[in-house]
Symmetry: C2
Subunit: 166 residues, 2 copies
DNA sequence: ATTATCTTTCAATATTTTTTGAAAGTTTAA
DNA sequence: TTAAACTTTCAAAAAATATTGAAAGATAAT
């Protein structure tokens, strides 16, 4: 396969995957582009390759940097800023997990805890309280697991366990 | 806390969480409503509680059933259909993981495999091929881990390992 | 201090996604 | 077979989300 179409296809796919998981398409595409680039890229080049406006590029690069998965780089003697992506995938996964946990899971957990204190004797009230308590425990555990996904992934004992469970 | 506002708050939160993860708000809300209900609910009641149209309710219930996490129930002597949610959270997680894997991850893996065969001697081509190969391996492993999230979660050895890794 | 180069911001616009509601479809009962 | 009770479908409308582009904001060179 040729580089150009392969790159294009990869960027499209990564963008689509992103939007299915609540990350905007352009953000995921910029990230994809940077991940497969062997050297830092300027905003101008990102705009050109993805056919997007300056504003769009700027805003999404900012967002990616807020997630801690894209970095600014300065080249000596260059006025422009260049960008690179976190290329260590374990590091990438850890950062994404941490951020999603902080932004989305933790607040949801807080609410689950709040609402699960419903008291009362009716079947309705009992069931509500029980179910939300279970959800709290479950989400809490899942959150921990996600946070440690790479540690699991690469642990030999775990690998063994996977085979065992299978 | 009172049941009514607690239930409302839970449904709102679950809906918001859903949309942040690429599941539409109403779908997540219907699911939330059914999860905390101690008995099956009719479409009419769902429409009323969530203030949504008949069409919306019908389509999202269909989607939830396609995911395998909501079931139809028939009550003796009743013409209407009633709905319940999968309430076993482990089962819920397994089904969601399986579906997302099948619909989103597997197709992405296929593309990753396709594009990673790029050949050539330039640094650009080499880097592209290496990086997409790494991504393929990583996503494949992560997919397997997700698929087994509950097995991990409840395994005592793993629990011990979490503490150990910490 | 002025200009040139580059980045950010944000109101307006465009696009995508979701929702509505009425017509068509289905199933059961009379 | 007709009607009643309910569900599904889908084109149109609404809502939510993303994108643009030009003006304002930085920063460095002259």
């Amino acid at each position: 396969m040729e580089l150009k179409p392969a790159r294009k296809k990869f960027i499209q796919t990564w963008g689509a995957l992103g939007s299915q998981w609540g990350i905007n398409k352009t953000m995921a595409q910029i990230h994809a582009l940077l991940m497969v680039s062997h050297e830092p890229i300027s905003m101008e080049d990102i705009m050109e390759e993805l056919h997007i406006s300056r504003g769009n590029a700027s805003m999404n690069l900012r967002a990616l940097m807020d997630w801690g998965i894209v970095y600014k780089e300065y080249k000596a003697g260059e006025r422009r800023e260049f960008f690179t992506a976190e290329k260590d995938l374990d590091e990438l996964a850890v950062k994404i997990s941490r951020e999603r946990s902080r932004r989305e899971i933790k607040p949801a957990l807080k609410v689950l805890k709040e609402v699960s204190v419903v008291e009362g004797d009716s079947a309705e009230e009992k069931h509500f309280s029980e179910q939300t308590k279970k959800l709290y425990d479950f989400v809490l555990k899942a959150d921990n697991v996600l946070d440690r996904i790479t540690e699991y992934k690469d642990n030999w004992l775990t690998q063994l366990m996977i085979k065992f469970i299978k």
